[in-house]
């Protein structure tokens, strides 16, 4: 945690609505290098929508995004990747009909000196990365459709860490994983954190993320209830924030905090 003053990512007053629904309203959130920030909230709170603005999947209606203190133009997923933002989507966003290697390199294929796809090299690298992540994984030649939910999730995670990410967004990354694979992802997060990568970890279940996270942001009905360092609050207090929007003394209230009389 070297550069404590300048956040890696700063999203300020982000708003986005679909039709009449304010999916995210004036949300402000930040992330420092080597930090794990958990974004918590009930189903439909707006977590995925908020981080999709950062990953370029959605265009915001209002607000600013700053990367390393400078205003960032993120209009599509390609822009986000240029800033070193890699995303594991909740829906995984894998192409079912092609194999793991094709998915890992989708949009960034390795090519031979002739300009053709270097499938062999891509498969070799894929075997290596997947070996680190999920040593039991063997089905490299099959379309991803033939994989289990957890194996598909491993593919999505591998894709995000394959290219040197500086900012990693993980939207419910362990939803489909077994205990062993979940632990592996936990180790991976700690390792990436040591390398100075900033990680947004999205979840609706506090138990998944509380021990991994340095700070938590809680969202409710599209608004940020508040944020806190995990060392300053208890799980129960965070649970109160998620369910009731009640901000404990150790946390900083946001626009979505329950108004206390």
């Amino acid at each position: 945690m070297t550069d404590q003053n300048i956040p890696l990512v700063e999203m300020k007053d982000i708003s986005i609505s679909f039709g009449g629904i304010h999916a995210v309203e004036k949300a402000t959130i930040d992330l420092f290098p080597g930090e794990v920030v958990a974004v918590l909230g009930h189903n439909g709170a707006g977590k995925s929508t908020l981080i999709k603005v950062l990953s370029g999947a959605y265009r915001r209606d209002g607000g600013d995004i700053l990367i390393n203190g400078e205003a960032a133009e993120i209009k599509n997923p390609r822009d986000a990747k240029k800033y070193g933002i890699e995303t594991i989507y909740q829906t995984l966003a894998v192409a079912d009909n092609v194999d793991a290697a094709a998915n890992l390199y989708l949009g960034r294929e390795l090519r031979t000196k002739w300009g053709t796809l270097d499938d062999v090299a891509m498969e070799a690298n894929t075997r290596e990365v997947m070996g680190r992540l999920n040593p039991n994984f063997r089905r490299f030649k099959e379309p991803v459709k033939a994989l289990s939910g957890g194996q598909r999730q491993s593919v999505a995670i591998a894709r995000a860490i394959l290219f040197d990410a500086r900012i990693l967004i993980m939207d419910e990354p362990t939803a489909a994983l077994g205990p062993q694979e979940t632990a592996q992802v936990g180790d991976l997060i700690k390792q990436l954190k040591r390398e100075g990568i900033g990680i947004f970890l999205i979840s609706h279940d506090i138990h998944d993320v509380f021990d991994l996270a340095d700070r938590v942001f809680v969202m409710k009905n599209g608004k940020v209830v508040g944020h806190a360092r995990t060392q300053d609050v208890t799980k129960d207090e965070v649970l109160g924030m998620i369910i009731l929007g009640k901000v404990p003394p150790g946390a900083v209230p946001g626009p979505g905090a329950m108004k206390v009389a």
Binding site: S55, A57, N76, P77, R78, K81, T87, Y89, T91, L92, A93, V94, A95, D96, N97, V98, A102, L106, G107, R108, E109, R111, G115, T116, L117, V120, A121, E123, A124, P143
Partner: protein, 442 residues
């Protein structure tokens, strides 16, 4: 009715062979050679259709003459089917290919018959090439326009190309106010086949040898690549089997093409023109492979390369599998769509060149219903309308299956209305069997 059962049973055999692996040996053979059983089923179907017609026609079908004609008749739809695969893989459809064929054919017709002779002189050697390029450019522009409307204005491809079907057919009429343009330029006509438009015995053998060398090179290269990264390799005997099957196919095809001789009047004219004395038993000049067939094969190779070896092809399949994932991966999915339709337009123009050259005329009705045969070829060839699945080779084989059915029925003297009924039923049956096959393969 008899021919109907003949054309459907082959597909049925395709499902049974895979559903019930006969013993260990067969299963091991397929695993070792990595042969696609689906493709094998299609080849089996084709062979059964051929043999069935051969028997029904009393030995007229499997003759050098008929097979050679079959290859030429298939060429135009086969060229378009290679592009239709990419269109359907991305969950789109192109109903306008027949009309684009008609329009670009007419453009090439008037270019070589009316405008270019005035501009360049009557027998300028470049007329055919300029006309061809002109048609290709027009086809590409039409495809680009349609692709642009589909991708950027978000009008469904079904509607855009249905509109195109009407617009380009109407536009064809306007080029000459409905008049047929003929004859075509002699060099241009070579693209249509015939005695002149075939490469003869020697060149056919050269092409055959090159094809055999290419097969060896491909197998050796694949082995080498797998070795480089320590991937499992096919057993050596399997490689030999594959190479052997390839050789037999290629050499067989060349022999058939060389066994079909020029018609006697053309040969006589040729002999007179070149001062060759007319021999006792007549002059037997082999046709060799027809140029339109070479064009179709070239189109197939290029399109397979694009679909499997280039980034563009990878994107096409990824978009077909999951459009949202492709977009999130940073692929410019709209531009890929535009390029697919542009490519389709170019292929329509190439098909139009073959078709106008073969007919020696550009007519208003050229390519009518071809959109349906093209789509049917792709679908019979294993392209899934759900997107994400399909091969170029399969689609070309599908075109051959369709054309075989039609030619066979013509040989049997079956009327056109009944031919259509049969083709329609076969199409539905083939796709149903394919669905069954896929459901079991899962």
């Amino acid at each position: 009715m008899a021919d109907m059962t003949h054309s459907t049973t082959p597909h049925a055999s395709e499902t049974t062979t895979t559903a019930r692996p006969e013993g260990n040996l067969v299963a091991r053979f397929f695993r070792a050679t990595e042969i696609d059983t689906r493709m094998l089923g299609m080849i089996g179907a084709l062979l059964i259709i051929w043999i069935g017609f051969h028997i029904l026609t009393g030995g007229l079908f499997l003759t050098a003459r008929n097979l050679w004609n079959l290859s030429v008749q298939t060429a135009s739809v086969a060229v378009m089917a290679t592009g239709m695969v990419l269109v359907i893989v991305t969950r789109n459809i192109d109903l306008s290919v027949g009309s684009i064929l008609g329009f670009t054919g007419m453009i090439m017709g008037v270019l070589q018959a009316q405008y270019l002779p005035q501009l360049l002189g009557f027998d300028h050697p470049a007329i055919w090439a300029v006309a061809l390029i002109g048609g290709i450019v027009v086809g590409g522009l039409i495809g680009t326009l349609q692709g642009f409307i589909i991708a950027f204005l978000s009008v469904p491809s079904f509607i855009v190309t249905l509109g195109g079907l009407l617009v380009w057919r109407g536009a064809t009429w306007f080029v000459t106010s409905g008049q047929t343009v003929a004859p075509m330029n002699p060099s241009f006509r070579l693209m249509g086949g015939g005695a002149e438009g075939s490469i003869g015995e020697t060149w056919s053998w050269i092409v055959g040898i090159i094809a055999c060398l290419a097969i060896v090179a491909a197998i050796v290269n694949a082995r080498h690549q797998r070795k480089r990264f320590h991937f499992p390799r096919r057993p050596l005997w399997a490689e030999y089997v594959l190479a052997g099957v390839g050789f037999v196919t290629v050499i067989g095809a060349v022999m058939v093409a060389n066994a079909y001789f020029w018609p006697i009047n053309i040969a006589r004219r040729y002999a007179e023109a070149n001062g060759i004395p007319w021999p006792e038993g007549g002059l037997q000049i082999p046709h060799g492979i027809a140029i339109p067939v070479l064009i179709a094969i070239a189109a197939g190779i290029v399109m397979t390369f694009i679909a499997t070896r280039l980034r563009f092809g990878r994107y096409v399949f990824a978009i077909g599998g999951n459009p949202e994932a492709a977009e999130l991966a940073g692929i410019k999915t709209r531009w890929v769509t535009v390029k697919i339709f542009a490519l389709m337009g170019v292929l329509c123009a190439i098909a139009a060149a073959i078709s106008t050259a073969r007919l020696n005329a550009a007519t208003n009705a050229q390519g009518e219903l071809d959109e349906l045969y093209t789509i049917a070829a792709a679908v019979i060839g294993g392209t899934s309308l759900g997107g994400g699945l399909g091969t170029i080779a399969g689609a070309m084989l599908g075109a051959l299956v369709m054309q075989s059915l039609q030619s066979g029925m013509v040989l049997l003297g079956i009327d056109t209305p009944f031919q259509r009924i049969v083709v329609g039923i076969v199409l539905v049956t083939a796709v149903w069997l394919d669905t069954v096959y896929r459901a079991r393969a899962k």
